[in-house]
């Protein structure tokens, strides 16, 4: 069960999100708040929570505050369009993912499940550029390249396209648990600690670059 907190100013919109998401299997809406100050006193776990952010203004400030109050929650932000210059500041401010308002309910639910797990949710076409922006560092392409199995290479390539574990599994017709197992092996071989670092490694080393 993925826990979801909704952050949106207009009450009606908050309640509409609650009604829509509450009806989805695997989703439990634990709270709806209109402003970030409401997050501080919420009784919700520190981890395993996705926060759906549907705000019109002051998004970057809101995300910075949110990241301070609830650093382990995965903030999923609704944006108008997938534009790098709009999305990069949101990621720097602490967003774990973005979706456009044109997304389907299924896409939103799937993205919330991924955000609650701490996975990045990004448009595939922009992922490499966005991650490079996000970390602000370039990896040397002359590092030793560890030997990945062909399956691990496939998984890493799809990861670098911004796919969630479920999407990678569906693409390769493997179970999600198998993809998770491949990811653990990839992290160990690349000596990285996180999904983001693995993606950045792929962006720097995989030829031709993914995306």
């Amino acid at each position: 069960m993925s826990l979801v907190v909704i952050l949106s100013e207009p009450r009606l919109r908050r309640e509409a999100w609650r009604a829509l998401l509450q009806a989805q299997p695997g989703i439990k809406v634990v709270a709806c708040v209109g402003e970030t100050s409401g997050l501080a006193d919420l009784e919700a776990p520190e981890q395993g929570v996705a926060m759906l952010v549907d705000m019109e203004d002051l998004l970057v400030e809101t995300l910075r505050l949110t990241a301070r109050l609830r650093p382990a929650w995965g903030a999923l932000v609704l944006v108008r369009t997938y534009e790098r210059r709009e999305i990069a500041p949101l990621l720097r401010a602490g967003a774990m993912g973005v979706l456009t308002r044109d997304s389907t309910v299924a896409e939103i639910v799937s993205a919330l499940v991924a955000s609650a797990r701490g996975e990045l949710v990004l448009p595939g076409s922009l992922t490499p550029e966005l991650l490079t922006d996000l970390l602000g560092r370039a990896l040397s392409s002359t590092d030793d390249i560890p030997a990945l199995s062909p399956r691990e290479e496939e998984v890493l390539r799809l990861l670098a396209h911004g796919l969630t574990n479920k999407a990678i599994a569906q693409d390769l017709l493997l179970s999600v648990r198998t993809v998770e197992s491949h990811l653990r092996a990839i992290y160990a071989k690349l000596q990285v600690a996180s999904r983001t670092e693995a993606v950045l490694w792929a962006v720097a080393h995989m030829n031709p670059p993914p995306g």
Partner: protein
């Protein structure tokens, strides 16, 4: 490595829309409770990739595909191509087919639970009735249905071998269940189990 557990669950196409114990809601609850790693469906890769679900049975379109979209369940399309629709029967054969269909409808509507459709007397009786119906369709259609089921089985085996040890649930029209289970039991690296044991 242990054998890969595979269960085959039968569905009832349009009957699922009726107010019977094994309606669409019951099917969704059942598959959600089983929560397989891989869900093999009688869908072609083309239909899956193009999201062309118009010709799929109700239980796929309105229950299983949406459920998979909202969970970690991965759908594996295991049909090579969609079989030709059955021909309309005429004369005496049509009259016999109507009788058989009405018996089938009774057997399936009166089943008290999904388990009753998928196991035990009703399941075997339904299979026998489907065999009779297939007999009325003529040799060519029978062979085509057998070939379709054989291809389903081959693709299920391929899916299980790609990801050994994971829990595989096959959901197909109940008419294919017996045949598929029989074919799958021939593979030593698969263990065909009841859906309640998966």
């Amino acid at each position: 490595m242990n054998a890969t557990p595979v269960a085959v669950l039968g569905t009832l196409a349009d009957f699922h829309r009726e107010p019977i114990p094994y309606n669409l809601g019951a099917l969704i609850r059942l598959v959600r409770a089983i929560h397989p790693d891989l869900l093999c469906l009688d869908i072609t890769s083309h239909e899956w990739q193009t999201r062309d679900f118009a010709r799929l049975p109700l239980e796929y379109r309105e229950a299983l595909v949406p459920l998979a979209g909202q969970t970690d369940i991965v759908v594996v399309p295991v049909a090579d191509e969609r079989p030709r629709p059955e021909e309309e029967l005429r004369g005496a054969r049509a009259a016999i087919a109507r009788k058989i269909m009405s018996a089938l409808a009774y057997v399936q509507r009166s089943a008290p639970s999904p388990a009753a459709i998928n196991e035990g007397v009703r399941h075997h009786l339904a299979n026998d009735l489907y065999q009779l119906l297939a007999g009325l369709q003529g040799k060519a259609m029978r062979e085509e249905a057998t070939l379709h089921a054989s291809r389903l089985a081959a693709n299920i085996v391929r899916a299980a071998r790609r990801d050994p040890g994971r829990r595989v649930l096959v959901v197909v029209n109940v008419r294919f269940c017996h045949y598929l289970r029989r074919l799958l039991r021939n593979y030593l690296d698969l263990q065909v189990v009841r859906f309640s044991e998966l």
